[in-house]
């Protein structure tokens, strides 16, 4: 046993030394975006003051841009199981078809695996794509891959979760901000006081954590609003329902539930219905079909349209524009949908949204 310990210890040491050995690599190159100045990156998300090269939102998205040669693009999302992610892929494909370019759509086979995402980007570089749309599972985790792409001067657009260092473009929504907006509406509906339950996204998922942060930050402004429980339900309707069922056993009084996506919110609604509670305020995110139906029927208060389809469409258009003539977007983060597109869905606009702006059929 002693000798075995010795051997392992030596191995541990050797690994330490091995890791510490080797040559220094030159730092990450960001040659592409060098000359754009600070304000390009620091521009805060807000109301857009410029025109974007596309019209419409959701499935109505369209553009006048046409590619002058068949560029090869790729779109990589976090997983292939979540309809939200699949809509991003569809948006990218639709845009590619409209623009006349090739689009490869990929995602890790193990849902949300950042390491596999890095691998996929490496493989795409190997494949020789001209530009990429990424939905990183994690801002920092994706960086090594982003740096490699930068070295090859492949422009990268991110949707939702950005890479830790600015890339060619970031679009989609700012998760923290969506959290703030929805929480604000819920606080308003509660009259500034009440007990709230939050259903979080998958553990380890950055976008979920950011959204949660936004919600917490906003509620911190209301001393009489308590987040009585905040539990993960893995973005998933089943778990949303089960967690909610359990929480209802624990708490006599619940005034509001925020699901960090509509799926979990709907799961919660099902649990609430089963428990015979009908006056609980429920809010969600993404404005997916069931979410909208729930808003229509009054079961849900509000959702935030995060338009995966349109976001991917926009990202594709910007990338192709850049490939055609080197156009740089006016700012690094172009939020989409922004106030112009009216992303906050409640009873007042849900019918219009479902008729003309939805990202689903």
């Amino acid at each position: 046993m002693k000798r075995f310990l010795l051997i392992t210890l030596v191995m541990v040491m050797a690994m330490g030394i091995l890791f510490a050995a080797g040559e220094q690599e030159t730092g990450p190159s960001s040659a592409m975006n060098k000359d754009l100045g600070d304000e390009y990156y620091t521009s805060t998300p807000g109301e857009r003051t410029f025109q974007i090269p596309m019209t419409g939102v959701g499935l109505e998205s369209a553009t006048d841009v046409k590619a002058n040669e068949t560029f090869s693009l790729a779109c990589m999302v976090k997983n292939a199981t979540n309809p939200y992610m699949v809509k991003i892929l569809e948006g990218a494909k639709a845009a590619a078809a409209d623009l006349g370019v090739d689009m490869v759509t990929l995602g890790p086979t193990k849902a949300d695996s950042i390491e596999e995402q890095v691998r996929i980007v490496e493989d795409l570089i190997q494949k020789g794509v001209d530009a990429m749309i990424l939905v990183p599972s994690d801002s920092n985790g994706i960086m090594p891959a982003v740096r490699k792409a930068n070295q090859q001067s492949i422009p990268i657009a991110t949707i939702g979760t950005p890479a830790a260092e600015p890339t060619f473009l970031r679009t989609g929504v700012d998760y923290t901000k969506t959290g703030v907006i929805v929480a604000e509406s819920v606080a308003e509906a509660l009259g500034g006081k009440g007990d709230v339950i939050v259903l979080e996204g998958a553990p380890g998922a950055q976008n979920g954590q950011e959204r949660l942060q936004g919600i917490k930050d906003e509620f911190a402004k209301y001393p009489e609003i308590n987040i009585i429980a905040s539990q993960t339900a893995n973005w998933n309707r089943v778990q949303g329902m089960q967690v909610m069922e359990n929480l209802l056993q624990r708490f006599e009084n619940v005034d509001a539930v925020i699901g960090c996506n509509d799926e979990m919110a709907i799961g919660a609604i099902q649990a609430l219905k089963a428990a015979g509670l009908s006056d609980v305020v429920v809010a969600g995110f993404d404005a997916n079909k069931d979410g909208c139906l729930a808003i229509q029927s009054g079961e849900m208060l509000i959702s935030y349209n995060t338009d995966p389809f349109g976001s991917a469409y926009l990202a594709t258009v910007y990338l192709v524009q850049n490939l055609i003539d080197g156009t740089i977007p006016p700012q690094y983060f172009i939020p989409f949908p922004d106030k112009q597109e009216n992303p906050i869905i409640d009873k007042s606009n849900v019918d219009v949204f479902m008729a003309t702006q939805a990202w689903w059929l």
């Binding site: 690994m15 220094q24 999302v77 490869v104 390491e115 890095v118 490496e122 985790g141 553990p203």
Partner: protein, 323 residues
């Protein structure tokens, strides 16, 4: 024994996975010109390195007639612990050693419970996977924690004599394991555990410690994998190891190591890992949509194992007739 027969023998002894590997490379090359490029093979090797490290540990466990499903959890935990230690300002070498010792300990606990209570390793390591990944989540509170150290890029991007560092690390692990397995008495004990535990007791060996050694080695290698992964994603991610345990077991089985009698070895595992890495890489390079990838990879894994098992059965019959 004539020359001709020994050649035939050699052909028979080539692990089936090698044929599969060659076939796959041929098919993928036809399907995509970018696949058969030196830079892509280098890419594949670098990508395969972490899986190889953890699979070697799992192979050792399988040779001892165990199974380790906790490696994924250990990997997640290691990435988180290492980065947490670094954030606390602990010097990097010390942090590495501390992290690896914890990984070793996790494996040791697995082994101890398995051997002491005679509990199926399947369920013990399953429970341990739940515990370790839970601890990783508790430490990070669900976030992925970011830290940068210049060593990270050295681990993933630098070269030693033109060989990329991840491959060097995997190579070192392979060689060390090879020596441990085939040149020390501990290695002989691994085969003993798998092939004839009775012989171990008669040889005056404490079976419990043997099992503990085997599992802690697997834990250690999962830890090293975690370090490579953390360097690759420059962060501690509480879900980074999800699914690795199954990949490692699959690679090992594809490589010809079987669940009983201590048959197999780490050489085959290299081939198994390469096969998995090549399939994944090629599907991406060819641009097969992720929708189809899961089903394709699953079928390939099944096919590889069906071929391996049926060829082994045939071979067994052949040997029996020669007796």
């Amino acid at each position: 024994m004539s020359e001709a027969k020994s050649f035939k023998e050699k052909i028979h002894n080539v692990p089936p996975v090698l044929w599969m590997l060659i076939t796959c490379i041929a098919i993928f090359t036809i399907l995509s010109p970018q696949f058969f490029e030196l830079s892509n093979f280098r890419n594949i090797l670098i990508q395969a390195a972490p899986l190889l490290v953890v699979s070697i540990g799992v192979t050792v466990v399988l040779l001892s007639e165990g199974v380790d499903l906790s490696t994924g959890g250990t990997i997640s935990l290691t990435t988180v612990l290492w980065i947490t230690f670094l954030k606390m300002g602990i010097p990097i070498t010390v942090a590495i050693i501390m992290t690896l010792i914890i990984a070793l300990f996790v494996g040791g606990v697995n082994g101890f419970i398995v051997a002491k209570g005679n509990i199926p390793p399947f369920i013990v390591t399953l429970g341990m996977a739940s515990i370790t990944s839970g601890v990783a989540l508790v430490i990070t509170q669900g976030y992925s924690i970011y830290f940068f150290h210049p060593l990270f890029s050295r681990i993933v991007n630098s070269h030693l004599l033109y060989i990329p560092m991840p491959i060097v690390i995997a190579g070192v692990v392979f060689l060390v394991t090879w020596f441990l397995l085939y040149r020390t008495k501990y290695g002989a004990q691994v085969f003993g555990l798998g092939g004839n535990p009775e012989a171990l007791t008669l040889g005056g060996i404490n079976r419990i410690w043997s099992v503990v050694r085997v599992f802690s080695y697997s834990g250690l290698l999962a830890g090293i994998t975690g370090l490579i992964l953390a360097s690759r994603i420059e962060s501690g991610n509480p879900i980074s190891g999800v699914g690795w345990e199954f990949d490692a077991v699959a690679a090992t089985l594809i490589g010809g190591t079987s669940f009983n009698e201590g048959r197999g070895g780490i050489g085959g595992t290299i081939l198994g890992v390469l096969l998995l890495a090549i399939i994944r890489n090629a599907l991406n390079v060819i641009g097969v949509s992720s929708m189809y990838q899961s089903a394709l990879i699953g079928s390939m894994v099944l096919l590889a194992i069906i071929i391996d098992v049926s060829m082994k059965n045939k071979k067994d019959n052949r040997i029996e007739t020669e007796v």
